[in-house]
């Protein structure tokens, strides 16, 4: 602990020696971190909205009229056994008819003397299973079950929504990854410059018996300081931005979490950057 405080003092005094250029570095890293933070929030918000919308959505399995109560129960159990299925609710043909009447109005259906609707099971899927291929696959599997007349699902709009969300996530990830790589690059270059500026001092430390890690640690500390200082700045900015967007209202928790994570993320990138800069240099 004591020896670490020595390294931290070394790192701090090195940072303050070139405070102007170092602040500029911190600022540019924080811009990158800010962009990552707001992209993450946007993607997360969109995805949770999409999965909320599609949560209630599911498949409807129409049952053959010939099934008796026992077989319906058995089939329901079988359907609920499928790994993607969250639950299956039995809708009798009478219930279906009264629902339809509610939607269309009593009078429209008065002319029917016989209920043409089948019994059905309303199935909701577990989260993460609403992608179009998945739904189609589950539907096909259900259709093959004994006693199933047909399967219906609103493939289209769910598919469009899920696709849009997925594309956006992909785009956000690509943006996040490139920014991360860029930040690591800036950090590792900054540390490399600090390292070469101190090369004379480092030679002397080696002659006095310093191990490679003794020499590297102040640079790792500096990397963490750079990264987390930039993270602090970015987190302040993203908090401010979210507050402003919410026009002063309390923020939903999924908007607040990145403000803490960004500092840790910045610090982690700092370690990676400085390890890249000095981790493999032969001392």
């Amino acid at each position: 602990m004591r020896i670490l405080s020595f390294h931290i003092r070394t790192a701090l005094s090195n940072m303050f020696r070139n405070i102007g250029i170092n602040l500029l570095t911190i600022f540019s890293i924080s811009v990158g971190l800010f962009l990552i933070a707001i992209t993450t929030v946007t993607v997360n918000t969109l995805n949770s909205a999409v999965s909320e919308w599609t949560e209630g959505f599911g498949l409807v399995v129409y049952l053959m009229d010939s099934l008796d109560d026992e077989s319906i129960k058995a089939l329901k159990a079988e359907v609920e056994n499928e790994p993607e299925v969250k639950d299956a609710r039995f809708i009798s043909r009478e219930t279906a008819m009264s629902r339809l009447k509610k939607v269309l109005g009593e009078a429209t259906l008065d002319g029917l003397d016989e209920n043409p609707l089948p019994n059905s099971l309303e199935i909701s899927l577990r989260q993460g299973n609403v992608q179009p291929e998945k739904v189609r696959e589950v539907a096909a599997r259900l259709k093959r079950l004994e006693g199933v007349e047909g399967v219906q699902f609103g493939e289209k709009w769910v598919g469009v929504l899920a696709n849009a969300a997925r594309r956006f996530t992909l785009f956000g990830s690509a943006l996040g990854i490139s920014l991360t790589v860029g930040i690591i690059f800036i950090l590792s270059n900054t540390i490399k410059v600090l390292f070469y500026r101190r090369s004379n001092e480092i030679k002397i430390l080696k002659l006095l018996g310093a191990t490679s890690w003794f020499i590297r640690i102040p640079f790792l500390v500096e990397g963490v300081l750079f990264g987390s200082a930039a993270g602090l700045l970015a987190s302040g900015a993203s908090y401010g931005a979210a507050y402003w967007l919410g026009s002063g209202h309390a923020l939903p928790p999924n908007l607040v979490w990145p403000t803490h994570a960004v500092i840790l993320f910045g610090g982690a990138l700092g370690i990676i950057g400085s390890l890249l800069a000095v981790g493999r240099i032969r001392l």
């Binding site: 405080s5 020595f6 430390l205 080696k206 002659l207 006095l208 018996g209 310093a210 003794f214």
Partner: protein, 216 residues
């Protein structure tokens, strides 16, 4: 403690040391002399593995230097205190911080380090310059900072390369007293110098380098 067997060191195809053999006992104090360019500094640098010999054998305590792995070098150097001919002080660190470095590198806790620095600075007569930067010191004062940094870790071997080059006879004598005190505590001390006054009447062995060869 220090053993050279037929050591050869070339610089740019020219032999700087040619078949050098000698042996210093543990706890011995000895001198190394010879004209400028005769290889004194080169020989000392071989001892703390700043240079590597082309052939021969160098044994320092239990270390066989021609077979030493990179990872062991720091531990060799912690046992060899060096008063460098060109000082090698850190210009942006105070006297105290420069001397303290030896201990920090060895992981000595800060309180103990602070006390030892204070007493070592007192020993070399620089207590009042603790917070000065090396550039604010005279040549002789800088020399004494280097000596303090070399002896503070109680090394088993103390090497000094022209340690009195910048000092008046009076201060030289004080510095030699520091070396004698370190020697009295059991260290092996090896001093390279031009100045015969240091080793005449000292009763110590004197090795002479000439054109890369050694004689005693």
């Amino acid at each position: 403690m220090i053993k050279f067997d037929n050591v050869v060191k070339y610089y740019d195809g020219q032999p700087a040391l040619n078949n050098v053999s000698f042996h210093l006992e543990k706890g011995e104090m000895a001198f190394l002399t010879g004209p400028s360019g005769s290889g004194k500094t080169t020989l000392l640098r071989l001892i703390y593995r700043d240079e590597v010999a082309e052939s021969g054998r160098i044994i320092i305590a239990d270390w066989d230097l021609l077979k030493l792995t990179g990872a062991s070098i720091p531990y060799l150097r912690r046992n060899v205190g060096v008063v460098f001919q060109d000082f090698k002080l850190l210009p942006e660190r105070t006297v105290r911080e420069n001397v303290e470095l030896t201990l920090r590198i060895q992981g000595v806790p800060s309180e103990e380090a602070r006390e030892r620095v204070t007493s070592t600075l007192k020993l070399v007569g620089l207590r009042h310059k603790s917070d000065a930067l090396p550039t604010q010191l005279s040549g002789g004062e800088q020399q004494r900072v280097v000596i303090a940094r070399a002896v503070i870790g109680n090394p088993a071997v103390l090497l000094a390369d022209e340690p009195t080059g910048n000092l008046d006879p009076e201060t030289s004598k004080e510095i030699m007293d520091v070396f004698k005190a370190v020697h009295a505590k059991g260290a092996t001390v090896f001093i390279a110098t031009h100045d015969p006054a240091l080793f005449e009447h000292s009763g110590c062995r004197v090795f002479r380098l000439n054109h890369g060869g050694i004689s005693s």
